[in-house]
C-alpha cells in the first residue's frame, strides 16, 4: 500500500481503504486520514490502550475519539503513517479491518459483561467466538452492505439490539427457566431510521455464533445488490417479513429453531443504560468505574493515564462503551478512594451529571466530509450549560449530530440535534434541526421532527428553556418522551423560545412549510 502516493489514490483505492477503517479526512485535498480501530466488545488491555495512545500521539496530533461502536478513531494521520499504524496495532492484537466499508463492523458487547451484578449472561466469550468466526473469513468478504452486530447478556440491553442489523440478547426463559437468547434483525438508523424486528425464536448460548452466521449468509445471498440505497439488511427483512425471513434462516440451518410464544421479548423498564459512575461488581469487593468523556473526545495523554490508572488500581482491564465513554474494571474496595482522587486530579468525570451522562456527538465538520456542522464542541458547551441551568434527576439522551446520516444516533434520543446550514437574513449560519422524544426500550420511538432549526450559538439557552418547561409541567414520573408525545409541535416550539432571544430566529423547515401551503 505504501508504494502508492497519496495524490495517486483512486476512488477504488479509497473504497479499499475504507474497508480497513481508513477514511480521508475533510478536506480530502490536505491528505490526512481518519483511522478507526475496531475493539471487539470494547475490551482493551492496558498494553492495547497504551499502543493506541502512542499511535495517537505519534501520528494523530494526540487526539482520540471513542465511537458509538466501541471503537477508537485517530485523526490527522498521514498516508505514510498508515502501514506503521496497522503493524503496531497487529502486534497487540488489534485491527482496523472491516471497521468501515461493507463488512462486518465491530461487534458490540455490554461494556460490563462478566462483572455486572445484574447481567443475565456473560457474553464475553461469545463476542470473541463471533468475532473470530467472521474475522478474515472469505465467505463474508463480499457483503451487499455493512452489517452491524450486537450481542449482549446485559439486563438493560445497553448495546441497543433495537438499532443493529443483528441484535442478539439474553432473556429469562419463561417456560423452562434459565436464560435463552433472542435475535432482532434489520435495525438501522441512517437517513431512514428503522427498529429491528424480533425473529421470534429462542436459542442457547452455544447456538449464538451459528444463528449469527446464518443470518449474515442469508443477508449476503438474498439482499438487494442493485440499488445502492436499499442494500442494508432492514430492506430484506421488510421485503420478506419476519416469518419468511425466519424460514430462510431455518432452511439454511437445516433445522427448526425453538419458536417463542411471544412475538416480542418482554420489555425492560425504562432506565439508564450508560453504566457510568462507580458500581459494585458481582465479584465480591470489586468495583467498576464508568467515566464520562462527553462526545467521546479524549487525548493520547488521557488514554495513557487511564492505562496507568487501570493497572495501578484495578486489574488493568478497560472497556469502551457504545455511548462513547470508558470504564475501568476490577478495582478493590480499599483502593476506591485513592482512585477517585486520582481521577479528580486528572480531570476524569466519574460522577457525570444528568446532562453529561447521556450526551453523544458524531465526528462533525472538523473531520467528516459529510458533516455540515461542528458537533463535539457543541456537545461539550451544551452539556455544560444544561448542567448549570436545569437540574433533572434522570439523565436524558442528547445527541449532537452533524448531518442526516445519524452517526450520532439522534433519532433514538430524547433530544436529537441534526446539523444543517440555514440562511438567516441572507447569511448562512450553522444551525440544528430539533428532533424530540426518541427512545429505545419498551416504547421504542423514532424521534419527531418538530419543525424548527436553532442557530448553534443559541442552542444551550434554548434547550435549557425547553427542559425547564418540561421540569415545570411534567406529571409525576412522566418521562421526557411521554411529555413530548403529549405536547404539540407548537407548544414545544414555544417552549424553546425565550424572552431574551425572541422567537424570530426560528426557521420553519421546508417540510413543515410545504404542509402549510397545501392546507
Amino acid at each position: 500500500m505504501c508504494d502508492l502516493d497519496f495524490e495517486a489514490l483512486s476512488f477504488d483505492d479509497e473504497a479499499l481503504l475504507r474497508r480497513y477503517g481508513i477514511y480521508t479526512q475533510r478536506p480530502a485535498s490536505d491528505g490526512f486520514f481518519m483511522v478507526r480501530i475496531r475493539i471487539p466488545g470494547g475490551h482493551l488491555t492496558p498494553d492495547q490502550l497504551r499502543t493506541i495512545a502512542e499511535l495517537s500521539s505519534e501520528h494523530g496530533r494526540g487526539l482520540a475519539d471513542v465511537t458509538v461502536r466501541q471503537s477508537i478513531q485517530l485523526h490527522w494521520v498521514r498516508f505514510e503513517s498508515l502501514a506503521k499504524i496497522l503493524e503496531r496495532l497487529s502486534e497487540v492484537g488489534l485491527s482496523t479491518a472491516e471497521a468501515g466499508g461493507d463488512g462486518i463492523r465491530n461487534i458490540l458487547n455490554c461494556p460490563v459483561s462478566g462483572v455486572d451484578k445484574d447481567e443475565l449472561y456473560n457474553t464475553t466469550s461469545l463476542i470473541k467466538q463471533t468475532h473470530d468466526f467472521f474475522f478474515d473469513n472469505g465467505d463474508f468478504s463480499n457483503l451487499p452492505r455493512k452489517l452491524k452486530i450486537a450481542i449482549t447478556g446485559c439486563a438493560v440491553r445497553c448495546v441497543y439490539p433495537e438499532i443493529n442489523d443483528i441484535g442478539i440478547f439474553a432473556v429469562h426463559d419463561l417456560e423452562r427457566g434459565g436464560v435463552v437468547f433472542r435475535a432482532r434483525v434489520g435495525g438501522g438508523l441512517s437517513t431512514t431510521p428503522r427498529f429491528s424486528k424480533d425473529l421470534g425464536v429462542l436459542f442457547n448460548a452455544e447456538e449464538v455464533v451459528g444463528v449469527c452466521g446464518t443470518i449474515a449468509s442469508v443477508f449476503r445471498d438474498e439482499a438487494n445488490r442493485d440499488d445502492g440505497k436499499r442494500r442494508r439488511l432492514n430492506f430484506l427483512v421488510e421485503q420478506k417479513d419476519i416469518p419468511r425471513f425466519r424460514d430462510k434462516v431455518e432452511a439454511r440451518l437445516g433445522r427448526k429453531l425453538r419458536q417463542a410464544t411471544d412475538a416480542d421479548a418482554p420489555p425492560i423498564s425504562e432506565c439508564d443504560r450508560s453504566h457510568l459512575g462507580i458500581h459494585a461488581q458481582h465479584q465480591n469487593g470489586l468495583y467498576y468505574g464508568g467515566l464520562s468523556l462527553v462526545g467521546g473526545r479524549t487525548s493520547a495523554d488521557q488514554l495513557k493515564q487511564l492505562a496507568d490508572l487501570a493497572e495501578q488500581y484495578g486489574s488493568g482491564r478497560v472497556r469502551t462503551t457504545n455511548t462513547q465513554n470508558i470504564i475501568l474494571l476490577d478495582i478493590p474496595e480499599q483502593k476506591l478512594e485513592a482512585l477517585k482522587s486520582d481521577l479528580d486530579w486528572y480531570g476524569f468525570d466519574f460522577q457525570p451529571s444528568w446532562s453529561r451522562k447521556g450526551i453523544i456527538a458524531c465526528t462533525g465538520v472538523q473531520f467528516c466530509k459529510l458533516a455540515l456542522t461542528e458537533t463535539k464542541n457543541r456537545a461539550a458547551e451544551l452539556s455544560a450549560h444544561l448542567e448549570s441551568a436545569v437540574h433533572l434527576e434522570e439523565p436524558l439522551r442528547i445527541s449532537v449530530t452533524g448531518c442526516p446520516n445519524s452517526c450520532g444516533q439522534h433519532r433514538i434520543c430524547d433530544v436529537g440535534l441534526e446539523g444543517s446550514l440555514t440562511t438567516i437574513d441572507g447569511v448562512k449560519r450553522e444551525s440544528f434541526e430539533v428532533f424530540l422524544g426518541g427512545g429505545v426500550g419498551a416504547h421504542e420511538t423514532i424521534s419527531r421532527r418538530i419543525g424548527v432549526r436553532i442557530p448553534s450559538d443559541e442552542l444551550p439557552e434554548r434547550l435549557a428553556r425547553l427542559l425547564a418547561y418540561f421540569k415545570e409541567r411534567r406529571f409525576e414520573e412522566e418521562t421526557f418522551q411521554e411529555f413530548c408525545q403529549r405536547h404539540s409541535d407548537q407548544e414545544l416550539t414555544r417552549a424553546l423560545a425565550s424572552a431574551q432571544l425572541g422567537p424570530e430566529l426560528f426557521q420553519i423547515t421546508g417540510r413543515t412549510a410545504a404542509l402549510d401551503q397545501r392546507c
Binding site: D262, E477, R486
Partner: protein
C-alpha cells in the same frame, strides 16, 4: 366490489365451531385457547377500561408476555396514560401505542379546528380506526374486552367471530360477563384501574368526547354526549373499511 368481498368473509366453519365451543367457556379458557391457537399472531386491544384491565390481568397469568396495544389518539386523559404505566410496571409488559399519521396540528390544518366536534366520526376514523389497521397488520386474531350488554351493537357479539371489517378472527372473552363480574374480578385481584372510574366516568375515551355521567344514567352516556354516536367504529362495521387517508400522501416525519 364490496358485495363480492363480504361474501368471501362469511365466518368459516372453524370459527363458527370455535365460537360454539367457547360460548360457555370462562374468559381464561377462551384466552388460553386464543394463545394456543394463534401463538404470536394474536394481539390484545385495550382501551384501559375496567374490562380491559381485567382482561390484561387474566392474559398475563396465562402468557407472561402477551402482545398488547392501545390506540393513542393523543387526546387521552392523563389518568389513562398513568394507568398504562402502572399496568406495564405491575406486570412487566409492554403496551404498544399506535397513533395517527396526523399529529393533532396536522389534523387541524387539513380538516379544520375541533374535528372531534365538527365531525366526530371522521375524527375517530383518523385517530382510532386508521391506527388500528397498523396495530393488526400481520396478526391473525385480536382480542377485545367488549361485553354484550354495553351497547346494542355489541349485544350480538360472539366469543369467537370473524371480523369482517378488519379481516381477521376476533376474540371477545368477556362477552357474557356483567359489569358487576368485571368489578368483582378487579377487586379480588387488586388490578390497577383508571382512577377516573371513581369520579363518575364509567366509560372513558378521549378528553374532548368523554364526560362524567349522572346518577342513573347508562355507563356510556358520557361518551359523545348529545349525539347519536355510541361507538367509535372499531367494533361495528360489517364491511371492510375503505382507506380514509392514503399512506404516503402526507409528509412523514422520517422520510429520507
Amino acid at each position: 366490489m364490496t358485495q363480492a368481498f363480504s361474501e368471501i368473509v362469511r365466518p368459516t366453519a372453524q370459527i363458527e365451531a370455535a365460537g360454539n365451543m367457547l360460548e360457555e367457556a370462562t374468559p381464561e379458557e377462551t384466552l388460553r385457547w386464543a394463545f394456543d391457537e394463534f401463538q404470536e399472531r394474536v394481539t390484545i386491544a385495550t382501551g384501559f377500561g375496567a374490562e380491559g384491565v381485567a382482561l390484561i390481568d387474566m392474559a398475563v397469568r396465562i402468557n407472561p408476555n402477551p402482545d398488547i396495544f392501545f390506540l393513542d389518539t393523543s387526546f387521552l386523559f392523563r389518568e389513562t396514560y398513568e394507568l398504562r404505566r402502572r399496568l406495564e410496571d405491575r406486570y412487566g409488559i409492554r403496551i404498544r401505542a399506535f397513533r395517527s399519521e396526523l399529529t393533532p396540528e396536522q389534523q387541524e390544518l387539513k380538516f379544520g379546528p375541533k374535528l372531534w366536534s365538527a365531525d366526530p366520526d371522521l375524527c375517530c376514523r383518523l385517530r382510532k380506526l386508521e391506527p388500528l389497521k397498523d396495530a393488526l397488520r400481520g396478526k391473525d386474531a385480536w382480542v377485545t374486552a367488549i361485553r354484550r350488554d354495553q351497547t346494542i351493537e355489541r349485544s350480538s357479539a360472539r366469543v369467537v367471530e370473524w371480523d369482517c371489517q378488519w379481516q381477521l378472527t376476533k376474540i371477545n372473552p368477556l362477552v357474557r360477563w356483567s359489569k358487576q363480574q368485571v368489578w368483582e374480578y378487579i377487586a379480588r385481584n387488586n388490578v390497577p384501574y383508571n382512577s377516573l372510574h371513581d369520579r363518575n366516568y364509567p366509560s372513558i375515551g378521549c378528553t374532548h368526547c368523554t364526560q362524567p355521567v349522572q346518577l342513573g344514567e347508562p355507563d356510556r352516556a358520557g361518551r359523545w354526549r348529545g349525539r347519536e354516536k355510541r361507538e367509535c367504529g372499531l367494533h361495528t362495521s360489517t364491511q371492510p373499511l375503505a382507506f380514509v387517508i392514503q399512506k404516503g400522501t402526507l409528509p412523514s416525519s422520517d422520510a429520507a
